[in-house]
């Protein structure tokens, strides 16, 4: 039940619909977590059944009602329990680095192209992060730990730091692969 905590974190900030949560995961939170709506909607229903959320339904654009969820006191309690529990890192799964690990089985030039493309992707991501960072810092609430913006900035700074490290690594990897390809 890890998605449960992600949903609690988001909805604790302010009420959300399932659609809102899905959007935020794809945008602001994409460097931390992601889930499809097909996983989110059932989980929200289960959390309501377990008393962690309450739901207010109104007219929706489609054939179904639009449901806005709010965290209950039990939900906030559960969130605090989780935040105080010891952190156990999970297995990272990084296909990009796995390909580098397998370099001996690959064509160096072909692999270099993969990392060159990734370099461009990361540059784009860093530009988007810079925009978001400016917005968050403009809000002026980044020093107040009771405001969501405080945590948002922290996670954003992590995203930027890791993206920069990966960018440097990607460029170095391209260089090493090209050098190896010439020797061959």
């Amino acid at each position: 039940m890890r998605l449960r905590h992600v949903l609690l974190v988001l909805i604790a900030e302010r009420p959300h619909t399932g659609y809102d949560v899905t959007q935020r995961m794809q945008k602001t939170m994409s460097m931390i977590w992601s889930a499809h709506h097909s996983q989110i909607y059932p989980e929200l229903a289960a959390m309501e059944a377990d008393g962690l959320l309450t739901c207010e339904a109104g007219a929706g654009p489609g054939p179904r009602e639009k449901k806005t969820y709010t965290v209950t006191e039990a939900g906030r309690h559960e969130l605090r329990i989780w935040l105080g529990s010891p952190y156990q890192p999970r297995a990272p799964k990084d296909e990009l680095v796995l390909r580098a690990f397998a370099a001996a089985s690959a064509d160096p030039a072909e692999l270099a192209a993969v990392y060159e493309e990734e370099t461009r992707q990361i540059e784009g991501r860093l530009a988007r992060y810079a925009t978001i960072r400016a917005e968050v810092e403009e809000s002026g609430h980044t020093d107040d730990p009771t405001r969501p913006e405080f945590g948002h900035l922290l996670s954003l700074l992590h995203g930027i730091a890791v993206a920069e490290a990966r960018l440097v690594w990607c460029r170095d990897t391209v260089r090493r692969l090209r050098a190896a390809d010439l020797v061959r």
Copy 2:
């Protein structure tokens, strides 16, 4: 079928038993991938059934036979296909950063303790990486792209670069949380 490719990468280097693969995932490859043996053994059997691996069985220490798997020509072909296919990044899931994102719902001092502990964990990890790096570089095959050590060094350099970036971020996060806790 992503575990399949991880297994192909490892067994393409040299023959492995299921146990060997499990060990290597926990040690050398821990920063790239991990899987429990309960997932590995059935997958190896499926890969043999699909003709990607061949298996040689001998006497084992327990009640069952020890099985050593080798990659077939079909397996090497499948591996090359995958290495040439476009890379599509998957959703990273980072519980450590999620907690920072949720800072507004947490006790700053309690959260700072989590990141202080993580700082120590990363320092330990970096020390282990440095040892492995020295071993790999001592082998003298890190410039030869046909040798597994070439790829091993690449992935190790990624692990080091990302760990260092996270270390800096963790320290900064502790500092920000402590400052916020004093203001409160």
